[in-house]
């Protein structure tokens, strides 16, 4: 997380009407005279947004018409999820997922800071649509004392809603360990159930048996925010930005070459060069976070923020992480550092993952050194095939995608390293990484 440096993107791409939708324009933030921290004023929120028009099954219809998909990375159809959970019967539970495990992503934190009531509106709307009586909001426990205290912020927001009587379902705040996988749907459910934040076998689907064995809806907080707006303005409105296949907007965490981090709300289908600077000082772009993929800057300059463009290029939209890697850094070294972190973030449950990812990370570390390579490249390709699809969750798959794209995009650098050279000038770390888990208590 980069709490101190989070700022809303008031620089929306020029020529994009109707944005931003989720985050308030910068001007409103400065003009807050109620003395409340940004976003907490419930009355102002209701004045600005109005009241929901579509509720219950009508809301599910609008979500279907909108084509809203999850904004947590998996991009699953929200209408389908709502329908599946609603069919579950009794004791349904809703979970707002703000356990932002992706280290390079802070868009959920920004959203919760600047527009908590939008998220909480969406949570109530989803609860009503599926007939839930219990709700949770999961976020990473705060580890940095100077960072944003989201828990206190949300507690205050919930208190003002309780006082105003806006919420039908009480929301319990849950703080998860700061693990990469803590935001994975079944891991978050497992944690709320009292166990460690580790993914579960997919045979036990969360929408059928989740918290307390009940049908559970888990949605990213940004998804819920979009749902809250759809509840007001309808599904057709949602589609007025974005593409036909990938409608709507999404929050992106953008890391500029100078290290600055911005949160920008962009329409899907926006050209990448309008979202982040892709000048000559940039060598590659990471799209989709640490389970995403690298792009040559030349490719990035002609691609858009869409899975239609990014997937064939070896990357994904994911949770909207875009990082422009300066030419001064070594792409292989960055990838190797991240791969090591991802290996240590393995839940340690599935053999191919807790054996394969460390093997991959170690081989990549060797390739990232300026020295002749041995079998590492052959080993990497073999392990990539061995590890994909053989874990209970997609951690091994995503890691392999990330590493495979690096070997592709930084192939020239790999060859240079094998001859004993390296084109990098800087050795410091560009991409952010969390402290590695050490003991079992780091998962609880």
């Amino acid at each position: 997380m980069t709490p101190g440096r989070v700022r809303p993107g008031h620089a929306t791409p020029p020529g994009e009407p109707g944005l931003p939708r989720l985050l308030p324009p910068a001007a409103d933030l400065a003009a807050d005279d109620t003395g409340l921290p940004p976003g907490l004023d419930l009355a102002a929120h209701l004045r600005r947004r109005g009241l929901p028009r579509f509720r219950g099954s009508a809301l599910i219809e609008q979500a279907a018409a909108a084509g809203l998909t999850g904004r947590g990375g998996a991009a699953f159809s929200v209408a389908r999820k709502l329908t599946a959970v609603a069919a579950g019967g009794r004791g349904i539970v809703v979970v707002a997922n703000a356990a932002e495990g992706e280290p390079a992503s802070s868009k959920d934190a920004a959203l919760l800071w600047y527009a908590p009531h939008l998220v909480l509106d969406g949570l109530q709307a989803a609860a009503e649509a599926v007939g839930a009586r219990t709700a949770y909001l999961g976020l990473h426990a705060r580890r940095e004392p100077r960072g944003l205290d989201l828990a206190a912020h949300l507690t205050a927001a919930l208190a003002s809603r309780a006082a105003a009587g806006t919420d039908r379902v009480a929301v319990e705040l849950v703080e998860t360990p700061p693990r990469f996988l803590a935001g994975e749907e079944s891991a978050l459910v497992a944690f709320i159930n009292g166990g460690p934040a580790r993914p579960a076998d997919k045979a036990r689907r969360v929408f059928e048996r989740g918290i307390g064995g009940r049908p559970t809806l888990v949605q990213n907080v940004e998804t819920l925010a979009h749902l809250a707006l759809i509840a007001r303005y309808g599904g057709e409105w949602f589609r007025t930005v974005g593409t036909a296949d990938e409608p709507g907007s999404m929050l992106c965490t953008i890391r500029d070459p100078d290290g600055r981090v911005r949160i920008v709300e962009a329409a899907l289908g926006t050209p990448l060069h309008r979202l982040l600077p892709l000048g000559d000082d940039v060598q590659a772009v990471l799209a989709g976070g640490y389970h995403g993929g690298w792009l040559h800057v030349a490719d990035a300059r002609r691609l858009t923020l869409s899975n239609a463009d990014l997937r064939p290029a070896g990357a994904i939209v994911g949770a909207g992480v875009l990082a422009a890697l300066p030419a001064a850094h070594c792409g292989l070294a960055e990838t190797a550092r991240v791969a090591r972190s991802l290996a240590l973030e393995s839940a340690g449950q599935c053999g191919p993952c807790f054996n394969g990812l460390p093997a991959i990370a170690s081989a990549l570390a060797a390739v990232a050194q300026p020295r002749p390579a041995g079998r590492e490249l052959a080993d990497l390709h073999r392990w990539a095939g061995l590890v994909t699809g053989r874990g209970a969750c997609h951690h091994p798959d995503g890691t392999v995608r990330f590493v495979a794209s690096a070997l592709e995009v930084f192939a020239a650098e790999t060859a240079l390293h094998a001859r004993g050279g390296c084109s990098a000038i800087r050795r410091d770390q560009f991409l952010p990484l969390p402290a590695a888990p050490v003991t079992e208590s780091d998962w609880r």
Binding site: A336, R340, A347, F354, P358, A365, A366, R427, Q429, E440
Partner: protein
């Protein structure tokens, strides 16, 4: 040697009891071997679990004869119900009661194992832990229900069974204590890969800020 009756039924019951105890000991040893992923020399991996299963069914067969002959024997009063309801026997209620407990556990183990796919892993495992209670109760039942095991070569056999199970248990517990927990596995694999002589100190150099 402490033989108190000469009826064939009584002999049959005691003999099958001894064989059952030995078989149960083998079942426990094989069960522990399965958890340690051990292989019997010269046999494929599946043989360990397969033998464990067959031996347990064989043990139950011997126990069935053991129980039936004991009930049928007119010399001691042991009702049918006493075979499964503990402490209801007229003859040595305490020690026979332990036998009944052991048999009850055995029935639970076998039934849950046959229905493993249907009851799910967690329920099966929970019941299977009772196996660690099954063997000692059977042993105590064996030692004190008659004086057979208290002297001579049968005593030596009993001590041998105890030593074998105790040793296997120590091995089981030691493995469980030293096995890496889920939180350690990836880190250990990473350390092992880093120690691979072909990789030298590459991964160590990339920790932290990677300053040269």
């Amino acid at each position: 040697m402490g033989i108190t009756s000469s009826t064939a039924l009584w002999y049959a019951s005691r003999a099958t009891g001894v064989v059952a105890l030995v078989l149960l000991t083998v079942v426990v040893l094989l069960g522990i071997l399965v958890t340690r992923r051990g292989r019997l020399p010269g046999l494929p991996r599946f043989a360990t679990a397969s033998l464990h299963r067959s031996m347990s069914l064989l043990a139950v067969a011997f126990i069935a004869v053991h129980v039936i002959t004991a009930i049928a024997d007119p010399y001691v009063t042991i009702g049918i119900a006493a075979a499964v309801i503990p402490f209801t026997s007229a003859y040595k209620p305490l020690w026979l009661g332990l036998g009944a407990i052991s048999l009850d556990i055995m029935i639970a183990l076998i039934v849950t194992s046959l229905a493993r796919a249907r009851i799910g892993r967690r329920a099966w495992r929970a019941v299977h832990w009772l196996a660690y209670a099954c063997w000692p109760t059977a042993l105590l039942h064996g030692i004190w229900s008659s004086t057979d095991l208290q002297a001579g070569w049968l005593l030596a056999l009993t001590i041998g069974c105890c030593v074998a199970v105790a040793a296997a248990l120590c091995w089981r517990i030691a493995s469980a204590l030293t096995a890496p927990g889920r939180a350690d596995r990836a880190a250990r694999a990473l350390a092992a890969a880093a120690d691979d002589p072909a990789r030298q100190d590459s991964s160590r150099q990339l920790t932290g800020t990677g300053a040269r």
